[in-house]
């Protein structure tokens, strides 16, 4: 079924079209939620609520840009709203001086690099993790992040700097990458060049 046919079916509230759309995009969207959530159960709750919003607001999609990107934005906003509603985010984003993360050598099993990286991201404190997800992976600007998280733009920048440094340390300790030197070529550091 083409994307246009899926859209038309979903606009008519057709269950088969909704199921097809869900099957097509849910795997990637669940990984998005997993990076924001505390655990898989929370991630699935975010995914469920996000897709409910997708289907209820699908009539507002104006065919500007990719449909997947439109879904992804709704999912990300849903994750942020849930974190804020549960007040789990506010408790950690104000922690300016987060303590170092103790990484157990056996906490991340031997898996492909993509999952290793995601698991390392999830080891970060929730505030650092959220800012890093939004800036480095989802592509939001610090100004947009500040508005979403109800913080100052400078706070978003400082949180991202600390998150990036902490993630580097985790990736090195997990031997996913070598310790980067100043102005290093990251792709060479992770063995891709």
């Amino acid at each position: 079924m083409t994307e246009e046919a899926l859209l038309q079916g979903c606009l008519k509230n057709d269950t088969a079209a909704q199921r097809e759309l869900y099957n097509r995009y849910s795997p990637k969207m669940l990984s998005v939620c997993y990076r924001f959530a505390h655990n898989r159960e929370d991630a699935e709750d975010m995914l469920q609520e996000g897709f409910i919003k997708v289907f209820s607001q699908i009539h507002t999609f104006e065919n500007r840009g990719a449909f997947e990107g439109w879904i992804r934005r709704i999912i990300v906003h849903t994750c942020i709203n849930i974190l804020k509603k549960n007040k789990k985010f506010n408790e950690s984003v104000d922690i300016i001086h987060a303590t170092g993360v103790q990484v157990r050598e056996d906490s991340v099993p031997s898996i492909i690099q993509a999952k290793q990286v995601v698991e390392c991201i999830r080891l970060l404190p929730i505030g650092y993790r959220t800012v890093l997800n939004l800036y480095a992976i989802e592509g939001y600007s610090h100004r947009e992040i500040a508005a979403m998280l109800d913080v100052e733009e400078s706070t978003s920048r400082s949180q991202y700097t600390r998150a990036k440094a902490m993630l580097e340390d985790i990736l090195v300790r997990k031997r996913i990458m070598q310790k980067p030197k100043p102005n290093t070529d990251w792709l060479a550091a992770v063995g891709r060049r």
Binding site: S26, R40, F55, H77, A114, V117, V118, A147, K164, W186
Partner: protein
């Protein structure tokens, strides 16, 4: 948002994250599907609940009056009367009537026989005289029918036939009182063996079915009319709308606070809310089941259950990723709530959209109905009700304090509310069915939102109500 990543590290992170996929469990899709398609289930459940409640209310009201037969002390006839007093009080009244009779003699047990006589509520057997035994049998607690049967048994076996059942002598219509077919013969047979009954006003007319029926038709007993309870099913398509006003408590509290809020802006913004919002009415629905109890020929008390759907549309413009700020009156201070909004109140026409707010409620209307006119087939009526209301489901887009954005904050919606309704109608009877049709207006007394929110919204709707009652 889709910007060029300046850092290879960021590109590395994004590529790694995009490569990673996870497959959700089945319960996620079930939750999504149920949420999207659960309205029909809610309606079905609501209708079932409505019918069960209506049936329960009807069962409470439809308990027929108790009728009873008492024996008059001055008459040989039976005067039926309808009373609602307890069986025990009736028994006492009956016994008193009989014991006050001039020729009353208590029951006499002679040997193993019980002499026949007048049956009282406690089923003591009375006889006028007995030359023999002085024993008084007071333990016979058989019902009237059983006592008559016991006469037959006495005649046949010459033994006392007693039962250990307590007298129930509860109300029973006259036509249920059917003495034993051999009663008269048994009475005669017993009378042959025992001293004849001393004639008295009561005993001259034994308690036979003919005397009872004849006296009933002659005396034309004064029944009080049995009150009827009607059950009406109603359907009302409506036009739903809302009235927006400023929350005065919020304004008073805002002006009294010494916090760095712009009171003038808040005051002006809240009090002018209805001028900056574009909204229009939408179709709604009401489905109800009502029990009506006639307290008078023209007045009925009504109570029941109904389901209402209220909807209206708001003009908005799609503009995601805005941060909407809603000022809230917490009683002690003015707080603010920030949330992500996807719609603006003002925007370009290319992005305009109509957002639909809806409220799905269940109510228990209680009120009075008045009928006019004497024509049995066509009458004019009016009714008014007060309706405690529970909000079952809703989708409400709320306006931010600066009027710029619309956002959903479900916990700001009030769950319990109250409505009033007024209707006029024409009642028409087609024989088996009674129809009522006429306009109805319904108004929500309290705001849809809790007192913290600076804007008050009162829903109201107009509709054409059609009701049908089964004419028994």
């Amino acid at each position: 948002m889709e910007r060029n990543f300046k850092s290879d590290f960021e590109r590395f992170l994004k590529e790694s994250a995009d490569q990673y996929k996870m497959y959700p469990s089945d319960k996620v899709w079930k939750g999504v599907n149920n949420s999207l398609h659960n309205r029909k289930k809610w309606y079905g459940l609501g209708l079932l609940l409505l019918l069960l409640t209506g049936g329960f209310i009807t069962t409470l009201f439809v308990r027929g009056p108790k009728t009873e037969t008492v024996v008059s002390q001055n008459s040989n006839t039976v005067t039926p009367s309808v009373e609602s007093t307890s069986a025990e009080q009736k028994q006492k009244a009956i016994v008193k009537n009989i014991t006050d009779a001039p020729n009353y003699k208590p029951a006499v047990k002679s040997g193993n026989n019980i002499l026949p006589g007048i049956l009282s509520s406690d089923n003591n057997m009375f006889a006028s005289e007995d030359n023999g035994s002085q024993n008084i049998e007071t333990e016979n607690t058989a019902t009237p029918n059983e006592s008559m049967n016991s006469l037959a048994l006495v005649n046949e076996t010459n033994n006392v036939a007693t039962t250990e059942n307590k007298t129930t002598f509860t109300s029973s219509p006259l036509d249920e009182y059917v003495p034993h077919s051999n009663t008269q013969k048994d009475v005669a047979a017993v009378n042959e063996n025992k001293p004849s009954l001393k004639p008295n006003s009561i005993l001259q007319n034994p308690y036979t079915i003919e005397s009872v029926v004849n006296s009933f038709s002659k005396n034309k007993p004064s029944f009080t009319s049995r009150r009827r309870v009607e059950l009406q099913l109603s359907f009302t398509p409506t036009i739903s709308y809302r009235k927006l006003t400023a929350n005065k408590n919020f304004l008073r509290n805002a002006t009294a606070q010494s916090t760095p809020y712009n009171y003038a802006a808040i005051y002006n913004s809240v009090s002018n809310v209805k001028n900056v919002v574009t909204h229009k009415p939408d179709m709604g629905l009401e489905l109800g089941l009502t029990a009506k109890y006639a307290v008078h020929h023209n007045i009925k008390i009504k109570a029941g259950m109904q389901f209402n759907i209220n909807r209206y549309d708001i003009k908005a413009f799609y503009h995601p990723y805005d941060v909407a700020t809603i000022a809230l009156n917490s009683g002690v201070r003015i707080d603010s709530l920030k949330t992500i909004a996807e719609y603006r109140n003002i925007g370009s026409s290319s992005q305009s959209n109509w957002l639909q707010n809806y409220y799905f409620q269940v109510s228990m209307p209680v009120g009075v109905e008045v009928l006019f006119g004497k024509n049995k087939n066509v009458r004019f009526g009016m009714a008014g009700t007060i309706q405690p209301t529970l909000l079952l489901s809703e989708r409400a887009y709320l306006l931010s304090t600066d009027y710029k954005n619309y956002t959903e904050v479900s916990w700001l919606t009030r769950r319990w509310n109250a409505n009033t309704a007024f209707e006029t109608f024409v009642a028409y009877s087609t024989g088996k069915l009674n129809w009522q049709i006429g306009p109805q207006v319904r108004y929500q007394l309290k705001s849809s939102f809790i007192d913290k929110y600076p804007v008050k919204e009162n829903l109201f709707d107009f509709g054409l109500k059609v009701g049908v009652t089964l004419n028994k």
